[in-house]
């Protein structure tokens, strides 16, 4: 349970494992944001630390991974989506991948629901479910009185986790273990308000309107009085962080991913 400072974390790649004739128990699909976005890289790293910590045999694709094609498909570019999908499926099937975990709800939705029709059949889980599983199995236990004890946390539902795939409880159960007070926003779960990034909106300016969607959502999150906004999606992460900046509350309110909160609570 104690994290030793000299501990070194490993990130094996599929290629390395394959060279040794090995297969991992689970493939960690990092995603584009998890690989390139400076803020979300911290989440990737936190999750890798947890994976190391619980001793699960995992691997990543490294440079062999490519965008799932989700933003292209939602924007209407089906050609590009299918090119990406089939490329990825070739790689995944080539390594005989059976189980995938990812910290991105968009990758999760695409890999789980949209790849099968193109020949990619895997058991796909989101990291919130994965973390919930670790907690339930007792592989991650928190000593009471962690840094979050008694603090207010609110959870922002990602559309592609919640409505798209009906995952509402797993992230909340993960947060429960932090011993914090989980406060819900007015619009939550099936009624959760989008952060404004989905459907490839993240990659363009919003259409003219009264307000930006992320500001509307951030106001709702701030109204709960929570000092931590928990998210489970890289795009929600950016949108909510920008919203906090817009409201000039970045000193008092922080946005964290579930994996970061869990890693922090265990001082990994």
């Amino acid at each position: 349970m104690d994290a030793t400072p000299e501990k070194t974390y490993k990130v094996p790649t599929m290629a390395e494992l394959a060279a040794n004739g090995e297969e991992p128990d689970v493939l960690f699909w990092v995603g584009c944001a998890g690989s390139f976005d400076d803020r979300y890289k911290k989440v990737t790293i936190a999750f890798v630390k947890i994976l190391n910590h619980v001793g699960i045999k995992f691997a990543v694709l490294g440079t062999e991974e490519a965008c799932t094609g989700d933003p292209a498909r939602r924007a209407g570019n089906e050609f590009l989506f299918q090119m990406q999908a089939m490329g990825n499926i070739q790689v995944l099937n080539g390594y005989n991948v059976k189980k995938i975990v990812t910290a991105c709800p968009h990758c999760f939705n695409t890999l789980k629901n949209e790849y099968p029709e193109l020949g990619g059949n895997y058991e796909v889980i989101h990291h919130s479910q994965f973390l919930q599983g670790l907690i339930n199995e007792g592989k991650v236990t928190l000593k009471g009185g962690g840094t979050f004890k008694g603090r207010k946390i609110t959870f922002h539902d990602s559309c592609y986790l919640g409505r798209a795939n009906k995952i509402y409880e797993a992230p909340r159960e993960v947060l429960q273990t932090l011993d914090a007070e989980l406060v819900e926003m007015k619009r939550c779960k099936t009624k959760g308000l989008c952060c404004g990034a989905g459907g490839a909106q993240y990659f363009k300016e919003p259409e003219p309107g009264r307000k930006d969607i992320n500001v509307e959502r951030t106001e709702e999150a701030l109204a709960t009085g929570a000092d931590t906004i928990a998210v489970a999606c890289p795009f929600c992460m950016t949108m909510m962080s920008d919203g906090i900046k817009n409201k000039e509350r970045e000193d008092s309110v922080k946005v964290y991913d579930l994996a970061e909160l869990l890693a922090q609570a265990q001082s990994l």
Binding site: S35, G62, G76, N77, F79, G196, Q201
Partner: protein, 446 residues
């Protein structure tokens, strides 16, 4: 006298039935203009969705007060129709309360239930009118929603008013009939049913009337009631109230996929497989006729999207939950559905005017009804799909229109084009070198 009434009644009934049948046929024909899509798999699951969502009104119950009020109108509508059957038979055969002798004590019990329901329906219709015009529930207001123009508001008001009038006619008809029975007036006295639960209190309104005036009123109320119902039946086919029928098939044919899953395009799969060299072109196969990618008009949409359009209740629950609409963008999922229906109605009229074939009118759903600015504002959050009480999927139409815009016209917003080219060349939506994709791992032990 009765025979003239019988003849008039049969003519009215036949005319309205013929008009309704014509409308139903036209609606069916326009729905069939859509593309084929199989929605008959998993019949048991479908049946259970229909029973829960349409029959059991499950999604209406997320807001209890409104849910229960709507439920009263719905049950009233279903049950009072048993009475309509008797009225129609009385009208044809010139009888009076034909069922009474056969049902015995059950008969007054049934009428009592109808009367209580009628009071319920009446009350709820008044409350609903107040919600529209006095408390001004946001999603119905034209100042906030440009699709709620004159006709949609008039439509709602007309129906609510008509229902109120029908219920009043039903109750006063029973009351005047009771007085006539009491007086032993021939024809009326044949049914010895006694007074009814609610209308007994309305009798004082009529006790001072002389018998002729009473008979005139009784006949007026009876005719008004039944003609009102027949007119309602026809009117419904032009109105958002078509949902009282279509809610059932529309929920039966619901999308069973997870909400996040977008329909695959098999035409494109083939081309991509050829491009990647995963599949070889079959030289013997005739080149497949590739249809339009995505949708520009209703003909390119699935028939289910078209049925969705006719099923829309214009309640605006979708729009009230839409993040784009909430923050002032032009997009409103309700408008997407109403525009699609408007397009279908226009096409239907066009077909009627041209012997059943559609003559090009130089209009399309995209551009002439729905603007690109609307579809581009969608975050694909599925809140509209989640909220819709009759399982309509506005997102499906938005996505099909986007596909057309991007793949057929190659007209995406510039920032999207940049994202496309990044995905294509750099394997990520940003301009990073694919070789740097794994660099994050260097920071793991820092």
């Amino acid at each position: 006298m009765t025979i003239i009434q019988q003849i008039l009644f049969i003519i009215a009934l036949a005319t309205v039935s013929w008009l309704i049948a014509k409308r139903v046929k036209l609606i069916q024909r326009t729905i069939r203009l859509g593309k084929p899509e199989n929605r008959t798999d998993h019949p048991q699951e479908r049946l259970s969705i229909m029973l829960r969502v349409a029959f059991g009104q499950k999604k209406m119950m997320t807001n209890w007060t409104v849910g229960i009020m709507h439920f009263i109108i719905y049950v009233g509508f279903l049950i009072i129709n048993i009475e309509v059957l008797e009225i129609i038979l009385d009208g044809i055969f010139g009888t009076h309360r034909l069922f009474a002798p056969y049902l015995g004590a059950v008969y007054p019990f049934l009428i009592n239930v109808f009367e209580v329901l009628a009071v319920g329906v009446l009350t709820v219709c008044v409350v609903f009118l107040c919600r529209r015009y006095l408390t001004r529930v946001g999603r119905f207001q034209p100042e906030r929603h440009r699709e709620m123009g004159r006709w949609p508001r008039l439509d709602a008001t007309l129906i609510l008013t008509l229902e109120i009038l029908l219920m009043i006619a039903f109750l006063t008809w029973n009351a005047s009939d009771s007085v006539l029975r009491e007086r032993g007036v021939e024809h009326y006295a044949q049914a010895s049913t006694g007074d009814f639960f609610v209308s007994q209190f309305l009798k004082p309104l009529f006790t001072n009337w002389d018998t002729t005036a009473l008979i005139v009123y009784e006949r007026f109320a009876w005719w008004f009631h039944i003609l009102g119902i027949l007119a309602f039946g026809l009117y419904v086919t032009y109105s958002k109230h078509l949902h009282i029928v279509l809610a059932f098939p529309n929920t039966y044919f619901s999308d069973l996929k997870p909400k996040g899953e977008m329909n695959n395009m098999p035409d494109i799969t083939k081309e991509v497989q050829l491009a990647l060299g995963v599949a070889q072109a079959d030289p013997n196969e005739a080149p497949a006729e590739i249809g339009r990618f995505g949708a520009k008009d209703v003909f390119d949409l699935s028939w289910k999207s078209l049925m969705d359009a006719y099923s829309c209740t214009e309640c605006g629950r979708c729009t009230a939950a839409c993040p784009a609409n909430i923050t002032g963008k032009k997009l409103s999922p309700r408008k997407i559905m109403m525009d699609t229906r408007d397009r279908l109605e226009d096409i239907g009229r066009n077909m009627q005017a041209h012997n059943g074939t559609f003559e090009d009118d130089n209009k399309t759903l995209l551009n002439d009804y729905i603007l690109v600015e609307e579809i581009n504002a969608c975050t694909t959050c599925q809140a509209c799909v989640q909220e819709c009480p009759v399982n309509i999927n506005p997102l499906e139409i938005i996505l099909q229109l986007r596909r057309y815009k991007v793949m057929e016209e190659a007209q995406a917003p510039a920032a999207w084009n940049a994202m496309f080219s990044n995905v294509e060349n750099n394997m990520a939506p940003w301009k990073f070198s694919p070789g740097d994709r794994f660099n994050w791992a260097d920071q793991v032990n820092q």
